[in-house]
């Protein structure tokens, strides 16, 4: 059997499971996943001490949500080895607010800031320390970000699998914009799953991959930072027309040499691409262990401006996804220069939208 055929049997098996239950599911349509929040959303309030860790957890509970996702290097003291007293405090907060750890977000900085490259063993040791931390904190899923977003890291992940089993942590690399929903990134991990039969490797899709248009809050920020209106209008239209990111950057280079324009063009590469179809996730749904409910702007009628949640959420329902969808608010970086950030309010709007699409009152 060729590698391609091997992969096809894997996704076919996954799709077959979906088809069997999918038709029944289409009728009953009850979500098996739960709502949560990644505290990336509350980064500004946490940074300014407007909110403590407990305040963030209390906010999650106040929305009737259960999942708590944190970025380890943002909130864990003496990372990656916090004092036992702090870990106990963490578990106490989970109990007090009836929340559960959903996913631990970590980073393996393989290039050491451009100083030298980590060896394969060092990267595995880094993952091991992170999984030990995840285990101590009760996280069953960990999302490691490694080198460039588009590049999978199969060698280090495969080598870390025995440790993942030891700590019972599922490694879930992120499918983040601009990764295509069908392609090499996903296939390289499916190959490992097929080869090793591991139950400890999967995916963390980020809904930014389904942007149908560029976030207008981001475009507005670029203009305030000096990008020209004609460049922004071009990028907005080109994205929706399906013009690829490299082509867009090249086109803007012809229009302008101004730094603000080139930066805007480069940054739009972080959304979509528009060719990503939510239904593509059905092929890999059994391996999705965490989801980032990415959003940039909740409108007054409780929609996300760029991402068609009404198309994406049903896919998770039909596919029987049973992890957490954790709200990930990323709009603050586009608006914090001119207005007061209110991450809690933004996340609340996101949860009202999610509840609606989950069939809750």
């Amino acid at each position: 059997m060729t590698r391609k055929e091997f992969l096809q049997t894997l996704t076919a098996a996954a799709a077959a499971t979906w088809v069997q239950t999918g038709n029944a599911r289409a009728q009953t349509a009850k979500p098996e996943f739960k709502r949560g929040v990644t505290f990336y959303s509350y980064q500004e309030e946490y940074y300014t001490h407007a909110m403590t860790l407990e305040d963030c957890i209390a906010e999650v509970a106040s929305m009737g949500a259960e999942g708590v996702e944190i970025i380890a290097e943002e909130m864990v003291p003496n990372y990656p080895d916090p004092p036992e007293a702090w870990v106990e405090h963490w578990h106490g907060l989970m109990e007090k607010y009836h929340t559960k750890p959903s996913c631990l977000d970590t980073f393996v900085d393989v290039y050491w800031g451009g100083r030298r490259n980590m060896t394969l063993q060092e990267s595995v040791d880094t993952l091991a320390a992170q999984m030990k931390l995840a285990n101590r904190m009760g996280f069953k899923v960990m999302r490691p970000t490694t080198g460039p977003v588009r590049d999978a890291a199969p060698a280090m992940i495969e080598k870390a699998l025995p440790i993942a089993e030891k700590y019972d942590v599922r490694i879930a690399p992120e499918i983040h914009a601009p990764i295509p929903t069908k392609g090499r990134y996903i296939d390289s991990y499916l190959e490992i799953i097929a080869k090793t039969k591991t139950k400890h490797l999967g995916f963390n899709p980020d809904m930014g991959i389904f942007c149908k248009r560029l976030p207008r809050v981001d475009l507005a920020r670029h203009m305030r930072d000096g990008a020209q209106e004609k460049v922004i209008q071009y990028l907005d239209r080109a994205f929706q027309d399906g013009v690829g990111s490299e082509e867009r950057v090249a086109a803007v280079r012809k229009m302008s040499s101004a730094e603000a324009d080139l930066r805007a063009a480069a940054m739009t590469g972080g959304y979509g691409p528009i060719t990503n179809n939510p239904k593509d996730l059905l092929d890999i749904m059994p391996y999705c262990y965490n989801v980032h409910g990415k959003f940039y702007e909740m409108t007054d009628d409780l929609q996300e401006y760029s991402i068609p949640y009404e198309e994406v959420m049903p896919v998770f329902i039909e596919g029987g996804y049973s992890g957490y969808i954790d709200s990930e608010y990323e709009g603050q970086r586009s608006t914090q220069d001119f207005k007061e950030t209110d991450s809690c309010e933004e996340v609340r709007r996101h949860h009202v939208m999610m509840k609606r699409l989950m069939g809750e009152a």
Binding site: Y40, Q43, E44, Y46, Y47, T48, H49, I71, E73, E74, M75, P77, Y79, F107, V108, D109, V110, Y111, W112, G113, G114, R115, T145, T146, G147, P148, V149, A266, Q332, R333, Q336, D337
Partner: protein, 131 residues
Amino acid sequence: MFDKYMVMTRGFQNVIQNGQITGFQMKVRITYYRGVFLPLLAGFDVTVDGENFKPEQMRFTLGSHTYTFDEVGKAEKVHWDFGVPATLTILKPGGLKPGIHDVEVIQTVKPSYMPPSGFTGRMKRKITLVA
């Protein structure tokens, strides 16, 4: 992301050694959304009252340890935590006069998932040196 919070007023002061002012200091925080191990900190570009300073003229103090930026590049086990102030010392004989100063600081952090140019935070503000 946290550009506007990068440089604190507390800690903006001259450095006195053996009765001489050898430079000035400021407390800085990371402008990126997580703490990082020091080699990810590429450095700071500092301009005060139009005078720009080179990395060789700077020292970085975290806790009780002071580093040159070459040493920062090798301190793989040292973590600059999110929200925690570090002290940036600029070596400048005579330091700064008490009063209002135009301070511009650009901080560059290089996480491995970002392109080689890294992530920059920029802060430009007036800070008053009291003593």
